[in-house]
Amino acid sequence: MMVPAGSQDGFPVLLPFRLRRGETHHRLGVAAGALLCIGLVLLVSTASAQGGRVAPSALQVIAKWAPLLLTGFAFNILISAFAMLLGTIAGLGVGLGLLSDLWPVRQTSWVLTQIFRNVPWLVLLFFVMFLVPFQLTVFNAHIPLPDWVKATVGFALPVMANVAEVVRGAVRSVPSTQWEAAEALAFTRRQSMWRIILPQCFKRMLPPWMNIYSLVTMSTVLASIVGVSELLTLTAQVHAAEGGRPELFAPLYGFALLCFFLYCYPINRWTAHLERRFQTR
């Protein structure tokens, strides 16, 4: 029912609120991007200028350790990918549970979603790290559970809850006439869900799903707090290995920021692009 925003401009009426991310306003222009990079280089070089003559400059330190740090970052991405995979599969299940006809299923899914959505990610991570054993014993076979696997599960839990909400929201956003049309064609509830409603939801779910992915990627650094050796842990170790000079903190953590920025910013731009393309009015 909504009229495109442009055509309402003439009327003194409050327009409907729509969070339009990254549309023309929050795009980093070429100039701004260049400025940002120059600023970072300046920051790094001033830091190294204070470092004195003998010690290697911050840029040299970063160049020396970049391969190691980038491996750490790759590990972050790996954790985020697995967490997303696990979380999406579980989230689809819980999301369909939220829409179920049976009230016990609906209630359980609702409680699960609420708990895992409202508790801080770090708390959930602690929860999984401390309460899941370090190895599982299934039929006398010992399956070791290394730290990073547990961390992945810890990240998958909030992903599950968020994906469930996304699924529910997407299914709700399909006009009810679609359900009625399916019923008129003698589809059962399950058939109409899987063959008519969900295929239409896929497009609507993609942008929020990618949003969640970028959130997970940014949360993987939390694993460093519980001792998984990913980018942030390695950064601290590199800093110690270089003599723990305080002026190295800014460039090293700046490098970590840059890694995440270069990975997440394109994803966010793309999400905003898809959101605009799929926008249904």
């Binding site: 925003a5 309402q8 401009d9 003439g10 009327f11 003194p12 009426v13 409050l14 327009l15 409907p16 609120f17 729509r18 969070l19 339009r20 991310r21 306003h25 929050h26 795009r27 980093l28 222009g29 100039a31 701004a32 400025l35 940002l36 708990i115 409202n118 508790v119 801080p120 990610w121 770090l122 708390v123 602690f126 929860f127 401390f130 309460l131 970028s214 940014m218 949360s219 993987t220 650094v221 939390l222 460093s224 707090i225 942030l232 305080p246 002026e247 903190f249 800014a250 953590y253 700046g254 970590a256 920021l257 995440f260 920025f261 997440c264 910013y265 966010n268």
Partner: protein, 248 residues
């Protein structure tokens, strides 16, 4: 009070579930101190981030291209990097560069301590999202309203404070609500730079009393209640600020 602590003590003796925070006054005090710190962190960061967000949105609708570009860069950078790395960047990167004084015992006493850095860093992180939310709200205010204000002789700043922002806030409250809940959850990150908030306090308790499971339950319940209270308050505010006839 005594009845509760007595009950938890007996509960521990009969079942082995050790909720030490509820009967041991030492643990209880630590827990309450942690809770207070979480509340201080949340309230200050929420207020600061709202002020910063509103300022950023004002600058963004302003005439200066340079300032607009700076706010843009700020939003883009803070939205696309992990808050924990931002926190470390500020606390270690800038914190160690600032001049420091020495206490009587010879300890290094920086100008800004870890709590101050946590507040600054988390506020900036949330402000980046708030700028975007406020801007979307401002866009919903029709041009004609602003023009009417101009015709009445309002300056741009006055019109923003008295007319545009009050309308924009009402329009974007649901989105703001989400972001503030998120901010409350993000305050746990301060744990990483040893700010003694709830997670930190409970971690200390469970390392000493060996009651991880029980303290985890307390932790989950604490954050569940905190988030529910915030959501309830925001909903009340939303209802109180509701514009008659808009969007319903």
């Amino acid at each position: 009070m005594d009845a509760i602590s007595g009950w938890f003590q007996r509960f521990y003796e009969s079942t082995g579930y050790n909720f030490s925070v509820f009967y041991d006054p030492y643990d209880w005090n630590r827990y309450v101190d942690g809770l207070k710190m979480t509340l201080i962190l949340s309230v200050t960061t929420i207020l600061l981030s709202l002020v910063l967000g509103a300022t950023g949105a004002l600058i963004q609708s302003g005439p200066s291209r340079l300032l607009r570009g700076l706010v843009n860069a700020f939003v883009v950078v803070f939205r696309n990097t992990p808050p924990l790395v931002q926190l470390f960047f500020f606390y270690f990167g800038f914190g160690t560069m600032l001049p420091a004084t020495e206490t009587a015992t010879g300890m290094r006493e920086p100008v800004l301590n870890n709590i101050a850095w946590a507040i600054i860093s988390l506020s900036l992180f949330a402000a980046a999202f708030n700028v975007e939310i406020f801007r979307s709200g401002i866009e919903a205010v029709p041009r004609t309203t602003v023009e009417a204000a101009e015709a009445l002789g309002y300056t741009r700043f006055k019109a923003y404070c008295h007319i545009v922002l009050p309308l924009a806030i009402r329009v974007c409250l649901p989105a703001l609500n989400n972001n503030l809940v998120n901010l409350l959850k993000t305050t746990t990150l301060a744990y990483a730079i040893a700010v003694p908030e709830t997670l930190y306090a409970l971690k200390q308790i469970w390392s000493e009393s060996q009651n991880v499971l029980e303290m985890m339950i307390v932790l989950l319940a604490t954050y569940g209640i905190l988030v529910s209270v915030l959501v309830w308050l925001m909903h009340r505010w939303e209802r109180a600020m509701h514009i008659p006839g808009y969007n319903r």
